[in-house]
Amino acid sequence: NSPAPLPERAIYGFALFLGSWFGFILYLIWAFIPETWLFALGLTYWPQKYWAVALPAYLLVAIGIGYILLFGINMMSTAPLNSTDTITDNYAKKQQQKKFQEEAIPALRDIPISEVNRMFFLPEK
């Protein structure tokens, strides 16, 4: 899964490049060429030109709202100050105690908040 350049990726990239240019030219043709000329060519069943302006406007407004929405979703997902999610979670509750071995670094574990507080704030006299 490395990001190195590969022949297949070069082909995908070129196909996307051509496709996006084609789409852009098509959009410009649809937006600018008068309807009568398009009818003369036989292309009658294309969407209304109103959408050539409406869709970019919708897109820009959606991007603007997206910033605010993301901020709001973040605020909603943050645990409130009175919830137990600020102290523990399912993983910490179900963790198993590993046996203490001499001369070895103690195993990694979630330390309960009471123990942390005792160590930080209650000095051993």
């Binding site: 645990a79 100050l81 009175n82 137990t84 600020t86 102290i87 509750k93 309960p112 009471s114």
Partner: protein
């Protein structure tokens, strides 16, 4: 009994009073500064000037009366529901913990937590808006699980919400 001045996280000068009533009974009270005259004048002037501006534009005198009412009722609601005067914690050794909040309008709201429900009192850190804040809270025991915590009760709420409730 001693009372010491401190500064809250938002910069307001607060006072912490500690009293030892008896061997197993202690009281801690945090007192917030009173409503400042300058902020009250600033808000009232802003609202009334805005209302006067609207009156000049719309020629409707109801705007002025509405502004006066809004200011009065807003002030009463703020003093009664938001602005905290003092928060105190009464710890009675074998009985429990009582938390009292007194508001600027004189209202007092009290909560009592039995000692058998209290698992521990800790300083917890949590994310609030864009900051990490440290606050004292009581951990309540989960009746089914001796290691578990059923609820977290933050203390001294006035200090958490900064300038709005305290200062």
């Amino acid at each position: 009994m001693e009372e010491r001045p401190y500064r809250s996280a938002s910069g307001a000068p607060i006072a912490l009073r500690r009293r030892q009533h008896s061997a197993s009974c202690r009281e801690l009270a945090v007192r917030c500064p009173r409503l400042q005259l300058r902020s009250l004048s600033a808000v009232t002037s802003a609202v009334w000037l805005a209302a006067y501006g609207l009156f000049v534009l719309s020629e409707n005198s109801m705007v002025l009366s509405a502004a006066v009412f809004i200011t009065l009722i807003g002030l009463i609601i703020y003093l009664h529901f938001v602005k905290i005067d003092q928060e105190s914690l009464l710890v009675i050794g074998s009985l429990g913990i009582q938390v009292t909040s007194s508001y600027a309008s004189g209202k007092e709201s009290t909560t009592f937590i039995e000692m058998s429900q209290v698992k521990d009192v800790v300083i917890n850190e949590a994310i609030h808006m864009q900051k990490v804040i440290y606050y004292v809270c009581i951990l309540l025991q989960d009746p089914g699980d001796p290691q578990g915590v059923s609820e977290v009760v933050p203390l001294f709420q006035a200090l958490l919400w900064g300038k709005r409730k305290c200062g």
